[in-house]
């Protein structure tokens, strides 16, 4: 090379004067150091960006956990109830009968509960109790009507202030009240089943998430049975049968656009079409499910098409070669092979729908619903909307309940994504 170079390419004049770079000089060494430092800095910058993003995630999760775990617990106090003295006027025998509910509704349990608290813990004793404390008394009576003939100690939820005093720090009054109760060993804080089995309430000490969770499950059920078949069939059509023409292009463009439309627009569609035009019931899981199905369907179609595309053509050729019809090729061979991929995409789409709030606000699923929905047409709310509603509440007691509901939601999402990853790793084949 060195001998040929002058012949092929006459060197420019100044090159004659050029001396080989002396890498040992201070200026060259400095230049290299600077470049290496820039390299290190850039690398640190990249690592910093990743770490910062991760740190944010960790911070988010830790702050939710630290507040939310307290939300699963509830402080209770021991309330000595002297039922014969309270003169509730309930006949224990009648409670075995069919009118038990009406009899209990007629009795003034609220007053009796407050009186019992005043007797036990001083004139302001009723302030220590949750507004829903009498509900515990009622369920205790329902469980064992004979309790009405004697005295009994019943654990009832405390007020938000006492609850906060027991868990972290309340105001001075509540702290004093808590110390008094603690000294009498009449207070305990423990895991509260009521939070997992109850529904929304105006009192943070007796709220539960089962109502919202059941609403979410019903909504997801509707979404799944509508979006999955439609999504899979569309994906099959577009990938396997659709002729290349303007109509197919139109379908493809619509699906790709729908996947990018903001979710709140689907809420507007649901409001205009399902509620105002078709007159479906407001706040019902069926309307929520329909709206979310329209939103989830494009996700399933796109995931489904990718899964179907990855099935090698040789499978189709072999099936066609031994005489299968085009429908048989797809339903007997391509679909089963693509199913794990489709299911993974479906679960991810469903997880997104489960966390979706905005469209459901539009169709009225933000109403206050105090009992779990019984069916698809009953008024209901869903978990994310419940979180939104609780986050708007003024009472401090809702803060930990909101975080607890978020933990439940995240657990569900994590489980769904875990299943999706498991399916992908276990069943998806690479050709």
């Amino acid at each position: 090379m060195s001998t040929l170079a002058p012949v092929m390419q006459p060197a420019p004049k100044h090159a004659q004067a050029r001396v080989p770079t002396d890498w040992t000089t201070a200026s060259m060494q400095g230049r290299i150091r600077r470049r290496y430092r820039a390299e290190r800095n850039f690398r640190m910058l990249g690592a910093g960006a990743v770490l910062l993003s991760t740190a944010f995630l960790v911070f988010l999760l830790v702050s939710m956990l630290s507040q939310g775990l307290r939300g699963f617990t509830q402080t209770e106090l021991k309330l000595p109830m002297d039922f014969p003295a309270a003169r509730l006027g309930i006949d224990p025998v009648a409670l075995r009968g069919p009118d038990a509910r009406a009899i209990l509704a007629a009795a003034d349990l609220e007053n009796a509960t407050a009186q019992a608290a005043n007797r036990a813990y001083g004139p302001a004793g009723y302030k220590l109790l949750s507004d829903g404390a009498w509900l515990s008394i009622r369920s205790a009576i329902q469980e064992d009507p004979t309790i009405l003939t004697r005295r009994a100690d019943i654990w009832v939820p405390t007020s938000t202030a006492i609850d906060l005093a027991a868990k972290t720090d309340g105001d001075a009054d509540a702290e004093a009240g808590f110390r008094m109760l603690d000294a009498r060993q009449a207070v305990r804080t423990g895991f509260s089943m009521a939070f997992l089995t109850g529904a929304d309430s105006t009192d943070p000490t007796i709220v539960g998430i089962w109502g919202a969770l059941k609403g979410s499950l019903l909504t997801m059920f509707v979404t799944l049975i509508l979006a999955f078949p439609v999504g899979v069939l569309s994906a099959l059509y577009l990938e396997e049968y659709a002729p290349r023409n303007r109509w197919t292009d139109l379908i493809e463009v619509s699906i790709n656009n729908l996947a990018a439309v903001p979710s709140i627009i689907f809420g507007l569609l649901g409001l205009a079409v399902f509620l105002n035009f078709l007159d479906f019931p407001r706040s019902a899981p069926i309307v929520g499910g329909l709206t979310l199905a329209l939103m989830t369907m494009p996700v399933i179609v796109i995931a489904g098409r990718n899964a179907i595309k990855s099935v090698p053509p040789s499978i189709r050729d072999a099936a066609l070669g031994i005489g299968a019809s085009k429908v048989q090729v797809v339903f007997h061979h391509v679909l089963p092979l693509a199913l794990p991929g489709i299911l993974t995409g479906t679960i991810i789409g469903m997880a997104r729908a489960l966390g979706e709030t905005a469209p459901l606000l539009m169709i009225g699923m933000r109403a206050f619903i105090a009992s779990p929905p019984g069916g698809l047409a009953d008024p209901a709310t869903v978990l994310p909307v419940q979180i939104f509603l609780w986050s708007d509440e003024v009472s401090r007691g809702y803060v930990e309940k909101t975080s607890a509901a978020i933990i439940v939601l995240l657990v569900f999402l994590l489980a769904m994504n875990g299943i999706a990853i498991y399916l992908r790793n276990r069943f998806e084949r690479r050709w």
């Binding site: 619509s254 966390g355 606000l361």
Partner: protein
């Protein structure tokens, strides 16, 4: 109750048809040219579908028609003629009482009509059910007579399958059409009351109940751009791009394998959780910081809080788009740069990023479209005051926040206030659509350049 029973009976008939037709076709023998055309299964499905489809179609139509017939029959009875009440109100109340939706009647004199209503309803349910059963039987029997060795049952069944496939894919088109039409229809009604010029260029936004109120949406547009396209992108672009660069160019494959899913988790967290976090933790911290530094006009619903959290939510989105476009840069370009003696960071900054720029820009546009359509974070963390300000510590409002605000609470569906939400929705829809189209075009063009 009886309708469920009839549905089960129809399904039962279809099942019997499936079994018998399958059994009959199974006995077909013949080889060579006389070989039966379709497998027994297809004959079974053919008969079952003939039993199911007409009956179900009839039941659907009947379910739509029969309430009107029942109402007419109830109002025609002599008992109802005696009640001085609008026939529509009357039947509605009787229906509510009969189904148990209403426990105490508004008008006590309609109570005797309840048993009449139930009787008429039972009568019509029976008619519908029996006709459906007859249809199912007739359809099944007709199809059963056609089960012969040379009958092309498979072709018929497959034709229906194809129709179902096409129908399923048309639902996407219908949805798009539904979105466009419902938004357009309501927006046209809105623009009949408020001039489009005032809406698009007015700077005062104060919707009131009824038809009064000013609908100048410029502060909303500005708030949306400020939070979604400026603050959020200032967070998301550097962090997302640098994360993508680090994970693709520097990180060991093992690190990358578990760091990437962790970043993806950020995109999987529901937006309501981000909103709660922004409102409860980030916003107060930013307000305290602003007060500490002495910035005037600091609000507890600052644009900065919503924008920062939204930026974090967008990071994985920008990161994965950047990842894709950097991976699409030909290896030869990278190798060439490294061979010239450039360090890795010089290669990335001077070769890879410029080459991948169109893809990155496309990804950023998609991210912006995602950010401006995002609702819950801004509803929970940004304010409602329609300010036209560039101070990130003050409160601004966005299009999506206002849509939620306008459509919740008491709704009279014909007021300019509720219709304004649809006009805002239309603007949002058009803008996100345009952003997506431009972004996809940029990405596509760039991909072609290297192929």
């Amino acid at each position: 109750m009886s309708s469920t029973l009839f549905l089960l009976l129809v399904a039962g008939l279809a099942f019997i048809g499936w079994v018998t037709a399958r059994a009959r076709a199974g006995r077909f023998t013949g080889t060579g040219v006389n070989r039966p055309h379709s497998l027994p299964n297809y004959h079974g499905w053919y008969v079952a579908l003939w039993a199911l489809a007409p009956a179900l179609l009839f039941l659907a139509v009947w379910g739509y028609v029969s309430p009107g017939l029942i109402d007419a029959a109830v109002t025609a009875t002599p008992q109802s003629a005696a009640i001085r009440l609008d026939p529509v109100d009357l039947t509605n109340e009787v229906r509510a009482l009969a189904t148990g939706a209403l426990t105490t009647p508004f008008h006590p004199d309609v109570v005797p009509l309840v048993p009449v209503f139930q009787q008429v309803q039972h009568h019509y349910d029976m008619i519908g059910g029996v006709v459906a059963l007859l249809l199912a039987f007739a359809g099944g029997a007709f199809a059963y007579t056609r089960v012969k060795p040379d009958f092309r049952a498979r072709t018929r069944v497959e034709r229906l399958v194809m129709a179902a496939l096409l129908g399923a894919s048309l639902i996407a088109v219908l949805t798009t059409l539904g979105i466009v039409l419902s938004l357009l229809f309501e927006s046209v009604r809105f623009f009949a009351r408020v001039s489009p010029m005032q809406f698009l260029f007015g700077t005062l936004w104060s919707p009131q109940t009824g038809d009064s109120g000013t609908f100048g949406a410029v502060p909303l547009f500005w708030g949306t751009i400020f939070i979604g396209a400026i603050i959020a992108m200032i967070v998301a672009i550097p962090l997302g791009l640098m994360s993508a660069i680090y994970l693709t160019q520097y990180a060991k494959p093992s690190t990358r394998r578990w760091m990437k899913p962790i970043l993806e988790v950020l995109a999987g967290v529901p937006t309501v959780v981000y909103g709660y976090f922004a409102a409860l933790t980030v916003a107060p911290a930013i307000r305290d910081f602003a007060a500490f530094v002495g910035i005037p006009g600091a609000s507890s619903e600052s644009a900065l809080a919503a924008g920062l959290v939204m930026g974090v939510m967008i990071i994985p989105f920008v990161s994965s788009m950047a990842d894709d476009s950097i991976a699409a840069v030909p290896q030869a370009m990278r190798d060439g740069s490294l061979a010239m003696g450039a360090t890795t960071s010089e290669t990335i900054r001077k070769v890879l990023v410029p080459a991948a720029l169109p893809g990155v820009v496309g990804g950023v546009l998609l991210a912006v479209s995602r950010a401006i359509g995002e609702t819950m974070i801004v509803v929970m963390a940004a304010g409602l005051a329609a300010n036209l300000t560039a101070n990130p510590f003050s409160s601004v409002t966005t299009v999506t926040t206002q849509i939620v605000q306008l459509l919740t609470g008491d709704q009279e569906f014909d007021s300019a206030k509720t219709l304004a939400a649809f006009a805002l929705g239309l603007v949002l829809f058009i803008v996100t659509l345009l952003l997506n189209i431009v972004a996809l075009r940029v990405v596509k063009k760039y991909r072609e350049a290297y192929e």
